[in-house]
């Protein structure tokens, strides 16, 4: 599946224009103040423009978006710090229903996902980098804490992005009645036996710790759950690379502009070579992030063995690069850089969340190195 370039560019243009008109920094402050942690009006707008249906096949009203098309959306999510559950619901949740849902489940769930009335969160597993390192096996011995017994879900998941407002949560769990094989479970937010502790992440988006005490679930079992989980985690990592690219582009542009206007000792600070060279390094990191994001997007649709190396390599390198850019952006803005009033600190906080989601830097480095040195 390859989305054609024109479609991707049209998507990029329309999301960019929408975000510029409706998601400026001040308007976003109103969203930050909203108890739900996302903009209900924006969410309805996304549904109307078809952005919640991108992953769907064309005959179901979508564009069968590949990783590059999803990336075009995610770059704007990063560039404008959008708060809504696009990644959790429209990309990952919808993707899992498509991968592992039966025809009947798809017919029931996809329309509600596309029109925004159903919001999914994805509680992948607490340690998303698979131990085997081949990307195909979702098995992870450290992660047996969610278990299905007699069709009821027991266990917990922490730090579930948008777990606070999701209507249903997709949980990866071990099926005790099937020798511990992986299972994908849909749990209703109001299911009996679900305890939810909601809170905000550092970037203002909502999350939850979930505890399941014998919850009824609906299973997605039309495909191998382990493979579907592994694919979804890689898809998440690649989407986060694109989001980081958007964040970094904004930080590089805003910092470069600031160096040209801020004066100290009678000169613009951008005239000092010490800062010029550091600004150049930020720009070079941006270009590397762009190259690696594209590589990861291509790899997502390639062979599984290559996928592990390239996706984790990209997420690891980009995590470090984005963090460096964020640190430097704050530093070069001086005291303003740490204020809540300036967007720089909000980008900084989004980078922290991106780096923590779906495998942190160390986890992805480890998976990359295992794959890169597999023949050594």
């Amino acid at each position: 599946m390859t989305t054609d370039t024109d479609t991707i560019e049209m998507l990029r243009d329309s999301v960019t224009r929408y975000a510029a008109d409706h998601y400026g920094f001040l308007k976003r402050h109103a969203v930050l103040a909203d108890a739900r942690g996302f903009g209900a009006q924006a969410w309805a707008d996304y549904a109307q423009f078809g952005w919640l249906a991108l992953r769907l096949p064309e005959d179901a009203g979508g564009i069968d978006a590949d990783a590059s098309a999803i990336g075009a959306l995610m770059e704007v999510v990063g560039a404008r710090l959008l708060m809504e559950p696009l990644l959790a619901s429209a990309v990952l949740g919808t993707g899992l229903v498509l991968r592992a849902g039966s025809a009947a489940q798809q017919a029931r769930l996809l329309p509600a996902l596309a029109d925004g009335t159903l919001k999914l969160a994805f509680a992948s597993d607490d340690d998303p980098v698979c131990a085997a390192g081949d990307g195909a096996d979702g098995a992870n011995s450290a992660d047996s804490d969610c278990t299905l017994r007699g069709g009821r879900l027991h266990g917990s998941r922490h730090g579930v992005l948008h777990g606070d407002i999701a209507d249903r949560v997709i949980v990866g769990a071990r099926d005790a009645d099937a020798s511990g094989a992986w299972a994908l479970c849909l749990v209703d937010a109001d299911a009996a036996g679900l305890q939810r502790r909601s809170y905000r992440m550092v970037d203002g988006r909502g999350a939850a710790n979930l505890r399941f005490e014998g919850c009824r679930v609906e299973r997605l079992d039309a495909a191998d759950a382990a493979a579907a989980l592994a694919a979804a985690r890689d898809e998440a990592a690649v989407a986060l690379c694109a989001e980081a690219l958007g964040v970094v582009r904004s930080l590089v542009a805003t910092t470069c502009d600031y160096l040209k206007v801020r004066k100290q000792f009678g000169k613009t600070i951008g005239s000092y070579q010490a800062l010029q060279h550091r600004m150049v390094d930020m720009f070079l990191l941006q270009e590397e992030i762009r190259a690696l994001t594209r590589a990861a997007q291509r790899a997502l649709h390639g062979p599984v063995a290559e996928r592990a190396r390239i996706v984790s390599g990209a997420k690891a390198y980009i995590g470090g690069a984005a963090r460096h850019v964020a640190n430097e952006a704050v530093q070069m803005h001086g005291g303003l850089g740490v204020t809540d009033e300036l967007d720089v600190s909000h980008y900084f906080r989004r980078v922290m969340v991106i780096n923590a989601l779906f495998g942190n830097r160390d986890q992805h480095v480890a998976r990359f190195v295992d794959a890169a040195l597999a023949d050594a």
């Binding site: 370039t5 070579q273 010029q276 690696l292 390599g313 990359f368 050594a376």
Partner: protein
């Protein structure tokens, strides 16, 4: 380029890569291969043999337009040529004729100059050196002071060049000289082709820390150069000099060199035992190699992106500098780690053994060559536009600071 043309260029480049691999496996003479694998010092005859073998395939000037005897390669094919040769650890394709002065001559030279010089460059009959840097003009090249004054149908050149690679082998020197001391620095420069046999030229070797003298001082005292050896227009030399520097900063070789150096480090770490375990199975080395793999991956993808941009016209002007900066910094880090992994064999150094097929090496077979390469390429962040100058240029030209 349109999408279709790009696809064709990529197919041609992939084919070229295959052809080069086969060529290296089948055509490289055994002695040259052995010297290359041990990273031994090569003689002029070795380099010339290699250049001529490559040119039998038409590859040495593959990047030239067909009208001048080249193959009209795309930027991608040119990249692949440099990259694949470096990956295979082949001898350096000495660039001064085919890559540097040749394109200046066919772009800006007279018909007589093209007829006189291009055949000797293509066939490597004539060996060229680059007369750019001076003691007071390194990164600030426009500060050069070597003067040429007109005397009838000759220029008379006086001054001093420095860091002139392989001047001791050169038949010709392409040389930046100042023909107008009054003009602003960039305006008074001219581009001369100087016969190295001219009276008044003295070449003095500069010994570098690898124990060799690849570079020289070239002194010019009342050297008479016929006016017909002026390239283009008097006073316009800076334009040609910058054109040449753009060719100097093509990216392929450094990416392949990084890849080759990393494979070499991994091989050493697999073959070396420290205590009971192989080096590569020990956490600190594994972590270092892992970091290099990650940076190498990023470099390769950045290079791929740069080639795409060159072909579809979306360059931002930073591509070549990005590859040079990241590539040379990474190469040096890998070389340093490799020398350290050699332990005491990484400081035992016998230059005699590097010339000789008979003398046994100190330590692992290629240890001496690894040290020599490390020394030589310590200058990689200095020559061809130092890292600092690259960042100055990007700050000004790309970021507008």
């Amino acid at each position: 380029m349109s999408a279709d043309t790009i696809e064709q260029a990529m197919a041609r480049a992939a084919q070229l890569r295959q052809d080069i691999r086969r060529f290296c496996a089948e055509t490289m003479p055994a002695e040259l291969r052995s010297k290359s694998e041990r990273h031994q010092v090569l003689a002029k005859a070795d380099y010339l043999q290699w250049l001529r073998l490559l040119q039998r395939q038409g590859w040495v000037v593959g990047h030239w337009p067909e009208a001048h005897g080249g193959a009209g390669w795309s930027a991608l094919e040119r990249f692949v040529f440099e990259d694949e040769l470096a990956r295979q650890g082949c001898p350096w394709v000495i660039p001064f004729g085919v890559k540097y002065v040749g394109p200046v001559i066919y772009t800006y030279g007279s018909d007589a100059q093209k007829q006189r010089f291009l055949p000797g460059i293509i066939s490597s009959e004539e060996f060229w050196a680059q007369g750019y840097s001076e003691p007071g003009a390194g990164s600030d090249l426009a500060a050069l002071r070597t003067a040429a004054r007109r005397d009838g149908d000759h220029y008379v050149v006086d001054g001093q060049k420095v860091w002139t690679t392989y001047a001791q082998w050169a038949d010709w020197l392409f040389c930046l000289v100042r023909t107008d001391a009054e003009a602003r620095p960039q305006n008074g420069i001219s581009f001369l082709l100087i016969d190295m046999r001219s009276p008044g030229i003295t070449v003095k070797p500069i010994r570098t820390m690898d124990g060799y003298a690849h570079v020289n001082e070239v002194w010019l005292e009342n050297v008479r150069v016929p006016v017909e050896n002026l390239v283009g227009t008097e006073g316009e030399g800076w334009t040609y000099a910058k054109f040449l520097l753009r060719n100097e900063r093509t990216a392929g070789a450094i990416v392949g060199m990084v890849h080759h150096a990393l494979q070499r480090l991994k091989r050493l770490a697999r073959e070396t035992r420290a205590g009971a375990a192989r080096l590569i199975d020990q956490a600190p080395m594994r972590q270092r190699i892992g970091e290099f793999e990650l940076r190498c991956f990023a470099l390769e993808e950045a290079a791929y992106q740069a080639m795409q941009a060159l072909m579809d016209g979306s360059e931002n002007g930073a591509e070549a500098s990005l590859i040079k900066l990241r590539g040379t910094e990474l190469y040096q880090a890998i070389a340093e780690a490799t020398v350290e992994a050699l332990g005491l064999a990484g400081v035992a150094y016998d230059t005699e053994a590097l010339h000789s097929a008979e003398l046994p090496p100190l330590g692992p077979d290629d240890a001496g060559g690894i040290i020599k390469d490390h020394f030589y390429n310590r200058a990689a962040t200095i020559f061809g536009g130092s890292s600092e100058v690259q960042r100055n240029i990007l700050a000004k030209m790309v970021l507008g600071l």
